[in-house]
């Protein structure tokens, strides 16, 4: 949670500097965010490769656990796909890319900005932040009406960290490992799925 606030703080700071044009020309004109993205993805890769515990979780648990992130992927994409059918302003491809953030707003918005521009990037940022916030607030209700996987599904990629405490509290500790697994799988998939949707589909 603290981390999310700092991230939002940096975004807000940039926003204010941009709005007030209180910036040196160099920053306004050059685009070094692409190189920063290269660096970030290299680092994220190292993090995934180095994380022994995430590989262990995957090896030690029942095979049907894979159904959990799978139903989050299908559910999210079908959901945003349905929205795009009823809202002519939103194209299917754009909706799918935003939905494929699964709540991982920092990385998904960075990717979408780079590929499709700032407008869709901001939609992805807001939408995926909202996913985290709504999950934090509504897990008890979701679990009551949609069963024990509801919190994990709603949290998406955030089920492994920011929304894990509420999920585990309202679903039961024994579900925490499934939440972490699902969150890890979705987190790893975001950098593959978002560019795939925007560039290949």
């Amino acid at each position: 949670m603290k981390n999310s606030l700092i991230i939002l703080g940096f975004f807000a700071l940039g926003l204010i500097l941009g709005l007030t044009r209180f910036l040196p020309e160099v920053i306004m004109e050059s685009d070094f965010s692409l190189y920063a993205l290269y660096l970030l993805m290299f680092l994220v890769g190292i993090g995934i490769g180095a994380d022994r515990s995430s590989w262990k979780v995957i090896k030690e648990t029942n095979i049907k656990i894979i159904l959990v992130p799978l139903c989050v992927i299908i559910g999210s994409l079908v959901g945003v796909g349905a929205i795009s059918i009823f809202t002519p302003e939103i194209q299917l491809k754009e909706a799918l890319a935003v939905g494929a953030g699964f709540g991982y707003y920092s990385l998904s918005s960075i990717f979408i900005t780079q590929i499709s521009g700032e407008t869709l990037g901001v939609i992805a940022l807001i939408s995926n932040i909202l996913r985290e916030i709504i999950t934090l607030l509504a897990v008890p209700i979701f679990v009551k009406y949609f069963g024990k996987l509801a919190g994990i599904a709603s949290g998406g990629a955030t089920a492994m960290d920011t929304t894990l405490p509420v999920i585990s509290k309202y679903t039961g500790k024994e579900w925490a490992i499934i939440a972490i697994f699902s969150g890890i799988v979705l987190t790893i998939l975001v950098p593959f799925l978002v560019p795939f949707i925007l560039e290949v589909l």
Partner: protein
């Protein structure tokens, strides 16, 4: 974007080897966090400079919200089905 995926795959390979050194991992984690801060800061600047976004913020916000609702409701329905079919006995 292919560059990004290649870099990430290289990173994963390198990660397998440096995984043994907690100090390196800690440094990588820190740098990851700061590059996320940097990129979101830059996105903030880009948005602030972009009048098209600033003037349409209410529409953009609304679109974001309905997409979120779609993603969550879709996930909940599929999670409910998956739970009933495969996890209920647990």
């Amino acid at each position: 974007m292919i560059t990004v995926l290649v870099l990430m795959t290289l990173g994963i390979g390198l990660g397998f080897f440096v995984g043994k050194f907690p100090k390196v991992i800690k440094g990588v984690d820190k740098m990851t966090t700061w590059s996320i801060y940097l990129l979101l800061f830059l996105l903030g600047i880009g948005v602030g400079l972009n009048e098209k976004i600033i003037n349409n913020l209410h529409t953009i916000g609304l679109q974001a919200l309905i997409l979120t609702i779609g993603a969550i409701v879709g996930s909940l329905i599929f999670a409910y089905i998956t739970y009933k079919l495969f996890f209920k006995s647990k």
